[in-house]
């Protein structure tokens, strides 16, 4: 498992370095994610090496944001002041995303089927 852990940390560190080059435009961890994806795609990294680490981290992911979540007590006043904004913005936007993504994807599939029929 140790080589897998090293590879993940390596891509994280490398991602942070690229983020620094980009002036922090995109979080380093997300860049690390894209780089790891690319390395797997180009067969530079073996998927079997990453799998156990990925399983452990993703299966227990929720635990990792508990400590930060407890920090919500420091943000309670801003949340209680703007709770309507949070509620309405998130509810509406969630429905919008579901509708937009589903309709566009379905449109593409119908379109392609139509083209094949002709």
């Amino acid at each position: 498992m140790l080589p897998g852990i090293f590879i993940v940390l390596f891509f994280y560190a490398f991602g942070e370095f690229v983020a620094w080059l980009l002036n922090g435009f995109i979080p380093g961890s997300v860049i690390g994610m894209v780089l790891l994806f690319a390395a797997l795609g180009f067969k530079l990294v073996k998927p079997e090496q990453i799998k156990p680490v990925a399983r452990f981290l993703c299966d227990n992911m929720a635990l990792f944001f508990v400590p930060a979540g407890v920090g919500i007590v420091n943000a309670l006043d801003i949340l209680s002041r703007y709770w309507q904004a949070v509620l309405v913005a998130c509810a509406v936007s969630t429905v919008v995303v579901i509708v937009v993504v589903a309709l566009i994807q379905q449109w593409f599939e119908k379109h392609r089927k139509g083209a094949e029929d002709r």
Binding site: G32, M61, V66, V70, A75, V97
Partner: protein, 230 residues
């Protein structure tokens, strides 16, 4: 006594212990509202308050756990790779629909929150609301938001999206299994994927793919949109 309560080993054990209890409770009851996070966060906030543990000590003690958020985001590149065949066969449609969904999602949040007079820090915490929590927290932190708010908002959005999602897809008459999985994953991350898996294996796999694509796109689009809306 106080020294022991403030020690890293006590705080670390407490956090993992409370979390495991919350997971156990969730598995027993199977109620989506008893999400392990929504239970363990207030319980820990209350416990640390009652035991007189300062937030600084708590943060320091649980730093090892928080650190794992970064590596978790990185291994999502592996999860994305697992779905590479799905991505190859439907690349254009998937990337287009998630891209448009991502932009409309961020813009609708920004405009509604601004209408209610919310400040920048709050808006920055809401922008990544459809993205899986570890990615959402790093996006919020980068753009001047509050990661804690982002974490809680993302969970609530996930529960909401998982509940209303199948109903909306039904009303819209969405028959495509790819469209259903994609919509659930891009709007409600892991909790949407759990629902998508109930709909079928194709929906579940595509939904998992959508989490990664939505995460990367949101990370890129949030700073771009912020730049144009200044």
């Amino acid at each position: 006594m106080e020294e022991w309560l403030h020690s890293e080993i006590f705080i670390l054990t407490l956090v993992i212990g409370v979390y495991l209890l919350a997971v156990w409770l969730f598995k027993k009851t199977k109620l989506s509202i008893l999400n392990p996070l929504l239970v363990s966060i207030p319980v820990l906030a209350l416990l640390t308050h009652c035991l007189g543990i300062s937030y600084e000590a708590f943060e320091k003690g649980s730093r090892i756990i928080s650190f794992l958020l970064g590596p978790t985001v990185v291994v999502m590149g592996y999860l994305l790779y697992e779905q590479i065949e799905q991505l190859k066969t439907n690349a254009v449609s998937i990337i287009t629909s998630v891209f448009v969904g991502c932009i409309t999602g961020i813009l609708s949040v920004v405009f509604i929150a601004r209408y209610f007079g919310a400040d920048h820090a709050l808006i920055a915490s809401l922008e990544p609301k459809s993205v899986t929590t570890p990615i959402a927290m790093s996006i919020a932190e980068r753009s001047g938001g509050i990661p804690a708010i982002a974490a809680v908002v993302v969970i609530v959005v996930g529960i909401f999206g998982g509940l209303v999602g199948p109903f909306i897809l039904e009303r819209l008459g969405i028959k495509s299994r790819i469209a259903r999985g994609l919509a659930l994953g891009s709007a409600a991350h892991g909790l949407g994927t759990a629902k998508a898996m109930e709909l079928g294996a194709v929906e579940g796999a595509i939904s998992g793919l959508a989490i990664g694509v939505m995460g990367i796109m949101t990370a890129i689009l949030v700073p771009v949109i912020e730049f144009f809306l200044k």
